[in-house]
């Protein structure tokens, strides 16, 4: 018994340390200056908890545990190190789904084995299991959509009713299992089948543009599921870490939805988020005025202040490295250069910052919408690259436009606007961009990377 007691005390102490490291890690991750060290703190916490758990009293099946840990780690590590920065959002979805699946697996083991004697414990196992399973299958769909494996958004009448029905089936089976009324393996299987189906049918109708919010929500749900399974196992580290992620993730989901100008209810239940083809707003009058790279380069070389507005198109064209090269040339000439990032510039809020950071752009040159919008009036040049709807002034004043009311970057207020664009198409939402037709706007046509390379050559030759 003595050995058991000391092992248990060691584990409790390690979990306490882990909880401390996690919370400090998350705290540090919420500021760009300390963010890098935050993940190291949290990583240390994970390591401590994992190692301590090997001393868990009465633990068996060591070979299986070690093999599973190694397989899971190797697969995740190699995929996580290799994935392109543009594909980060779907990888987060994938790893999050794995966590949800693990929480559901814990619940399944507990319920199939009948270890859980109390009704309260069984209820928590069931609820955590349902949430985990929904998060698992839902996150996999989110991954599939962002990865381009699932292109269609499945929608039909009565879809919400069907989801409600599946949820009801899961809850009724869960109630029967938890109360001990019908705690058979068949009921447990049915419970998990219904929960997995619910995750699928809830996520399939949601369009790709709304996926970041959905992933963030599933992230919070996985946290909650982990906390519930922590209650079942009497594991304080799981309760604390799961709950912290559950509440932080809920807040983050709200912040993201707000940054994208969408409400959470709207995302989940309206079946929108693809391009809406219904209304494209009033027609835009005027003409597009092209400019040569040489002239644009001279204009930028002699400017005092330039604001660059990057969009996802820049990342697709892999032009961010060239853009930063151009910036450095301009900075060396004494030009003030800043980046203006719209919340939906990348695939999820903050994604564009990651892509720019990858190219080497320091984060203090990067400003978000609220910070920089007043500065466009003092800018000599606004360089738009790969962005479209987020700089479309019709969002401010054309009530018939589908993007009316969306916060935009006031690039049109700059003295000169240069738009790098592949051709004369409409934006992601299919709306003509009034900015392109303004008197102070010039269009620089071409592939993003090639156009910026031409600008670099032009600035160098000045």
């Amino acid at each position: 018994m003595d050995a058991y007691f000391s092992a248990a005390a060691l584990i409790q102490a390690s979990y306490l340390l882990t909880a401390f490291l996690f919370i400090m890690g998350l705290k540090r991750m919420s500021s760009p200056v300390t963010a890098r060290s935050g993940i190291l703190w949290a990583g240390a916490g994970m390591l401590v908890a994992t190692l301590a758990t090997f001393f868990y009293p009465g633990l068996t099946n060591f070979p299986l545990i070690i093999i599973a840990v190694i397989i899971g780690s190797v697969i995740a590590w190699s995929s996580g190190r290799r994935v392109a920065m543009t594909n980060i959002p779907q990888m987060i979805a994938l790893y999050n789904g794995m966590g949800g699946g693990a929480a559901a697996a814990i619940a399944a083991v507990e319920l199939y084995s009948g270890h859980e004697q109390t009704t309260a414990g069984a209820t928590l196992a069931v609820v955590g299991g349902i949430i985990g399973a929904v998060s698992f299958s839902g996150s996999l769909i989110a991954f599939g959509k962002l990865q381009g494996l699932i292109r269609k958004s499945l929608r039909f009448g009565g879809q919400q009713l069907l989801n409600l029905l599946i949820l009801a089936v899961a809850l009724v089976l869960g109630g029967m299992v938890a109360s001990g009324f019908n705690a058979t393996p068949a009921a447990v299987t049915g419970l998990f089948a219904a929960a997995l189906l619910l995750g699928l049918s809830m996520t399939l109708p949601i369009g790709g543009a709304d996926m970041p919010v959905v992933i963030s929500l599933y992230n919070a749900l996985t946290g909650l599921a982990v906390a519930f399974e922590g209650f079942v196992l009497g594991n304080a580290a799981m309760i604390i870490a799961g709950t912290v992620v559950g509440s932080a993730g809920t807040l983050l989901t709200q912040l993201m939805a707000k940054a994208m100008n969408r409400s959470l209810g709207n995302v989940l239940f309206s079946g929108f988020g693809d391009s809406s083809g219904a209304s494209t707003g009033s027609a835009v009058t005027g003409s597009l005025k092209p400019i040569e790279a040489a002239d644009a380069g001279v204009m930028m070389a002699f400017a005092q202040k330039i604001i660059i507005v990057p969009g996802y198109g820049m990342a697709v064209a892999q032009a961010q490295h060239k853009v930063w090269e151009l910036c450095q040339l301009l900075i060396d000439r004494g030009v003030t250069v800043r980046f203006a990032i719209h919340p939906v510039a990348g695939r999820m809020p903050g994604h564009m910052n990651v892509l720019l950071a990858e190219a080497g752009v320091p984060y203090d040159l990067i400003a978000d919408l609220d910070e920089i919008n007043a500065e466009f009036e003092t800018a000599d040049v606004a360089l738009i690259i790969g962005a479209n709807d987020v700089v479309n002034p019709v969002a401010r004043n054309d009530k018939s436009s589908p993007i009316y009311g969306m916060p935009i970057l006031n690039a049109d207020k700059a003295k000169n606007v240069i738009v790098i664009k592949r051709g004369q198409g409409a934006g992601f939402s299919g709306i003509e961009n009034a900015l392109f037709y303004l008197d102070n706007t010039r269009m620089l046509y071409g592939d993003g990377q090639a156009a910026v390379a031409a600008l670099i050559a032009a600035v160098k030759s000045v």
Partner: protein, 117 residues
């Protein structure tokens, strides 16, 4: 752990999570989501306990999958978060100008955190 103590922990942890994130700037939304995704990888310890107490082949198989998925959550979450945050640098700290790739160099530290099991 008694039920009421567990509820106290739950409540305090919920407030903590909210407060810790409350003032986060938009530029860190993606890394922070990834970071919190990593933190719930703590489900790994629960999955280890579940597999460690599994008896029947069915329980063992489910437990095995659980540990595998949980390890993937923890390690994958760490890998992508660390990669992203490592790239965030201020103007003062930008060493090699025009450096294209921030992903090399720190791999060893991360590998140590993931591969010690």
């Amino acid at each position: 752990m008694t039920g009421i103590v567990a509820l106290y922990i739950f409540m305090l942890a919920a407030f903590t999570g909210y407060e810790v994130i409350a003032k986060v700037p938009v530029i860190l939304h993606t890394p922070l989501m990834s970071g919190s995704n990593f933190v719930h990888g703590i489900v790994l310890v629960g999955a280890m306990v579940a597999l460690g107490s599994a008896g029947t082949p069915l329980e063992k198989s489910i437990g095995f999958i659980g540990v595998l998925l949980a390890a993937g959550n923890a390690v994958g979450g760490y890998a992508v978060t660390e990669r992203m945050l490592e790239m965030f640098k201020s103007s003062g700290a930008r060493g090699a100008r025009g450096g294209k790739d921030g992903k090399d160099g720190k791999d060893n530290k991360g590998a140590a955190a993931a591969g010690t099991h």
